[in-house]
């Protein structure tokens, strides 16, 4: 059996914030939640998306750090900044393609998700992935995911010209092999006909 890994299935998320509340209970940063729950646009939809650190194989946050304050463990977990080194410049905050690191003024350093290193290193699962009631976050084996989920788990990302490989997997439709986030020119959108809004209840009621 392969090692335990972290999986995100955004489509399962119900926005309950159990992950946000539980992250705060993790012993290494008690009282401070480091996971982000994004509300896409509440006016239009109830869709939400949890965002843990993706733990890039070659972390961009570390690449851009002028103080060499961001380190990886041997297992590939990217850690919060080292307090003696961090100068609070927020280069990492700006550079991370997933928007994960945040500068915390109270402690004057960058803090981020460390995949519950204190828990995973002692055989326990990360707080967020243990409590998540929807299974949007899961910490298990790839075999278990393939056995129980539709779609495909991928960890290759394309941000424009930049390729990123992450320790954390996301579930995507089976036909996809990577997550491709290209910039779409606005002009191309203007030409296309606006589609009926599938999340507008008034529009649903007017359908035949």
């Amino acid at each position: 059996m392969s090692e335990l890994a972290f999986f995100i299935d955004y489509s399962r998320c119900i926005g309950c914030q159990a992950c946000v509340q539980a992250c705060e209970e993790c012993d290494t940063h008690r009282g401070r939640s480091l996971i982000h729950l994004e509300t896409i646009e509440r006016r239009d939809s109830v869709q939400t998306a949890p965002q843990v650190c993706m733990h890039c194989e070659d972390p961009i946050c570390a690449q851009v750090c002028p103080a060499d304050a961001i380190k990886q463990t041997a297992e590939g977990v990217v850690q919060s900044s080292l307090k003696p080194r961090c100068i609070g410049c927020s280069n990492c905050v700006l550079a991370c393609p997933f928007g994960v690191p945040k500068y915390d003024a109270d402690v004057d350093q960058m803090m981020k998700c460390d995949m519950c290193y204190d828990r995973t290193s002692t055989g326990r699962r990360p707080m967020c992935a243990t409590v998540c009631p929807s299974g949007a976050l899961a910490f298990t084996t790839i075999e278990e995911i393939m056995r129980t989920r539709q779609g495909r788990a991928v960890n290759d990302w394309q941000f424009g010209d930049q390729q990123v490989r992450t320790k954390v997997f996301v579930l995507v439709p089976t036909e996809a092999t990577r997550v491709n986030l290209s910039v779409i020119p606005l002009s191309s959108l203007r030409r296309s006909r606006p589609a009926p809004d599938p999340y507008d209840v008034a529009a649903l009621l007017e359908a035949d």
Binding site: A18, S45, Q47, V131, Q150, Y199, L205
Partner: protein, 740 residues
Amino acid sequence: MARLPAPVSDLVAQFGPHLHREPAGGWNTRGEPDRIVPTHCCFCGQQCGIQLKVKDEKVVGFEPWEEFPFNKGKLCPKGVKRYMQDEHPDRLLTPLVRDETRGFQPIDWETALDRTAREIQRIQSAYGPDAFAVLTGASLTNEKAYLMGKFARVAVRTANIDYNGRLCMVSAAAASKKILGIDRSANPWSDIPQAKVILVAGANIAECAPITTDYLWQARENGAQLIVLDPRMTPIARTADVFIPVRPGGDIGIFYGMLHVMVQRGWINREFIAAHTTGWDAVEAIVERYTPDYAAGIAGVPASMIVRAAELWGPAETSFLLHARGIEHHSKGVENCMAAINLVVATGRIGREGCGYAMITGQGNGQGAREQGQKCDQLPGARDLENPSHREYIAGVWGVEESTIPHTGLSAVPLLEAIHGGRIKGLLLVCFNPAVSLPDGEFIREALGRLEFFAVIDFFMSETARYADLVLPGSLMEEDEGTTTNVEGRVIHHRQVVQPPDGARQDWRIICDLAKRLGAGDKFAYESTRDIFEELRVASKGGVADYAGITWERIDREMGVFWPCPSIDHPGTPRLYEGWRFGHPDGKAHFQPAEWRPAAEEPDADYPIVLTTGRVVSQYLSGTQTRRIGALVDQYPQPQCEIHPRLAGSLGIADGDFVRVESRRGAVVVRAQIVKTIRPDTVFVPYHWPLGRSANNCTNRAIDPVSKIPEFKICAVRVSKSSPPSDDLASLEPAAGGVR
């Protein structure tokens, strides 16, 4: 305005709700806990397993309990933060007596208990035994629920005992009992992922039963199709195969419309119906009229949605129906549930793996607390208070004459009406916050102010307790031991984790002390809650909800035992109706016909909009517990009115504006939240907040004739832009009813 002993702001300053934000010892407490105790969450009927960490005899945190099979470590935000109730600064630590100048004053326990007993006797001798009432709750353990029913009938000898499950499970219970013969979810949750089609009717699962989400999603991973009925596009509805944004109160249109299509297309299991049911012909005659077009008119949705739902549900190999308050909180709540259950019975898809039906209980012990005899018409074991042999059996267990057991009393809403009308003069209340949770809030609070004597047992000063003459400080779930019965009918064990703080007492001891003062001490001579459970086992033996074979040791060993479990060697009954043996004496399911009828109050020219109410994920019921936990309050600090942009535009309302939502009974002023995810003819306000921020100021006291559940899910309102509230509450914290 009903009388309070001091201004609300003074009471809030003294008793909260204050926000508790850090565990005992603070966030930076390090070191291993002294012990980790596996128990259950106290919020909601899912009753998730959770482990509480104890250090220096204080609860300091939690650890997921992954071995417990129902939730496997999963929790919602309420579960994660439940331990913040412990060591709470608002905790009541002494009996309090009402003081007209200062609000409340501490008194000693003996004086408080003596006075309560004396007042019960005084009121009963002046006005008759039923002039003193008892109101209880569905968040109590089975042991305490049993004790309250016995206390009311044996010690107080009043007919008037009812509970707040009256606001929760009674419509589902009555419908299930009428058709299937047993009031319980028919299947364990493990059947949900085996179903090929799932119908969720009026259940905001993501917010009100979050743990059930994974069961639904797992079914979908297995290829299940999902149909959701809700006036709002909830997180579960967002990706449903068929989402039907039904008009509040229009559910029967969907169910009968589907059944009509199923009859037309031959998707009815006539062989099963002939062999195992009665009453189908009457149902078939009614649904004949419910063509998709006719049904769509009732449901307020396009007919095509009903046809598509029928096309999924009708021919399915396996299926599962889940319903909750959305179809139950109606003056036709029982009929709504019966119409839904007819869809299950007409296909014969029940009583086997992946085939069945469940009601999603809302309150902590929503299932168990309705079986132990604290309902106004019921005796332990889900026995019938008016059945002579049931009365005789329970009289024997209690050691009293059958004739001394009172007959059926008033249910919760009529009971409050009787207080308002002066027919009930005294009240003992535990685990219930009617000042927030009952409809027509102003009327309810006025009633509470009319009591000659009112005693409340609670661990916090709830909005209701503010009206009390005496407040007796009780215990948290983790300060006592006992059992509850979860949404599946699985009886589980709440372990005692810590002792109650000095000054507070375990609820059951308070009740037994009162019983002694009322001259019934010999009938309440329990040494522990285990003694009560052992008596409950005997009392339930031979009843529908039979716990006779369940012991605390078995529960621990087997991770819960499902009732009915008539003997020690019986394995328990996770799935009801196997072999199509139903709960009625004839072993058959009994179809129940019912025509759709309008709500007690439909929108009209003066009040043209429908108000529907419900919950948010971070708050539990009337909020008396969860509005004191900082992290949960931060998540959704104050009630908002969800309103569709089209309706908001026509009313000149912008996102974040204050709006006044006003019915014939009262009004609530809250901020508008403009969302496309709600029907444009309906607004939604969650009900967890008090007084001027209470959605229940608007709701209607109309009740279902059978279940007596109030019609929380539909009343007529008008909505207008408002200036920010400037009432007494407005400047308080949002948890106390203030606004930001």
